[in-house]
Symmetry: C2
Subunit: 212 residues, 2 copies
Amino acid sequence: MAQARAEVTRQRIIDAAVELFNERGFGETGLADVLQRAGVTKGAFYYHFDSKDALAVSVIDQFQIAIRDAFRKTIDPPAAPGLENIIRGTFAVARLIQTDPAVRVGNELSQSLGQVSDAGPRVFRQTSVAFVDEVKKAFGAGDLRDDANPDDVGEVIWIGVIGCQFLSAAIGDDLVARLARVWHVLLRAIVPEPSLGFFYEVLERSLRDNVR
Amino acid sequence: MAQARAEVTRQRIIDAAVELFNERGFGETGLADVLQRAGVTKGAFYYHFDSKDALAVSVIDQFQIAIRDAFRKTIDPPAAPGLENIIRGTFAVARLIQTDPAVRVGNELSQSLGQVSDAGPRVFRQTSVAFVDEVKKAFGAGDLRDDANPDDVGEVIWIGVIGCQFLSAAIGDDLVARLARVWHVLLRAIVPEPSLGFFYEVLERSLRDNVR
């Protein structure tokens, strides 16, 4: 019971932080602002978090879980070919970043906190490996060109996806549209010529799903 | 004379900030640390900069100029085909980020300051446009596939380059090796099949130039 209450308090602090980071940015948010918005004492805060940075790491962790769940939902069950799932998964994640403030803030924090904590490197090492694994499965399903190196292709797609997230967050423009342009060019490098038409169609449908 | 002295002081503050950001990170560096390292008074600091953020913006500005100069040096005079210059330019920039602490810090700050100032968006809008313009020139030189859209290809290369910079800064691994892997995959999407061998050779040579 006490534990459930503690968990509620912890989440209330995280939610307040997300609101404030979203409104003002991480750098402009003081610890006092978080306490006031969450309606908790300094003691309650330090029971859960060592510092403002530790709080940011929790926001990043929640972001990482949300992203992974959104991606997996389009991957399981693996009815469609591997690469089709990967394409749809990247659009599901892009949509989440564009529509969910907690995910958007988590995305921005994970990009900007590399210097102040090891959460950045940890997140990116883990997600890079997981993503390249999915591409290797697609390779197993015969989706990629025979001469494609699945490790390199996985890395390039991953860089395309996070590059889109990063650039759209920095400039503040349409992440989904950018992702579609990047996939359109990349597909030519990674799938066999006869499959191009099919995957362009997947791309079109992923874009349409995205605006609903 | 007084102006020259002021300029020296300004640069000394920037150099001290780069050292400290490099050693501890931006978030862990206080204004007092910068004043002490630079050996200047608070008054001297505020004569040149409004805040720590303004100082960071100056570091980003210097980074942007260094990057642009390194890129242009491989572009002018445009003796080689456009795309060859672009490939070599991206390696020159990667090498600079890996070897010059001021450029590395500027790169990291430009990535992480999107939330606290408009320097991030400004830098990325400007450099995105400039980069895509170079790709359009390469297209004019006949380097790209007939069916390639130069705007989209320029954007994808740009995302590949900044995605590499971002991921290698976050994880702390070899930017130049990652850039080579990304180019290797991308080339297949953007140059005509008969030119692939030539551009793979350019890539090899850019990598060798890079280790000297």
